[in-house]
Symmetry: C2
Subunit: 82 residues, 2 copies
């Protein structure tokens, strides 16, 4: 099953990459935006039969290595039938 | 309006970060996965009244600076009412 994991910084954690992009956008003349935050998206296929096993495996991956749970949140979406 | 922009590498473009994560996962004993790809997610608020203006602004941002359209695809999702 295809799994999409979105990893984002927790509220209150500084986001230097977001700041850099914000400044670049302002310099280029884009004005009408706010609250820009940068995250990471990991897309992978997990070969398990049922959804709960896939979710458990993805969760393990996030807790073990993919996300730094001190400063990051993660969200797992499973696209069934793919 | 809240806008989520997902930027991913085009098919065929090497993904060294994905390879590194793949190897780390294998070393940690995760075996049942495939096709891992890493992308970027940018979340921001765009202050325009209607959806088509928001979409146009987000599109301009992507083409100008956010995405490298030679090697990356981007996908814009607009969450209305937020």
């Amino acid at each position: 099953m295809k799994v999409i994991i979105n990893i984002s910084l927790k509220n209150g954690v500084l986001d230097p990459e977001g700041q850099a992009i914000k400044n670049s956008l302002l310099n280029l003349g884009f004005k009408d935006f706010n609250n820009i935050r940068i995250g990471k998206q990991i897309i992978l296929d997990i070969d398990k039969i049922n959804k709960s096993e896939v979710l458990e495996e993805a969760n393990n991956m996030c807790e073990t290595i993919l996300a730094n749970t001190v400063i990051e949140n993660y969200k797992i979406d499973i696209l069934e039938g793919k």
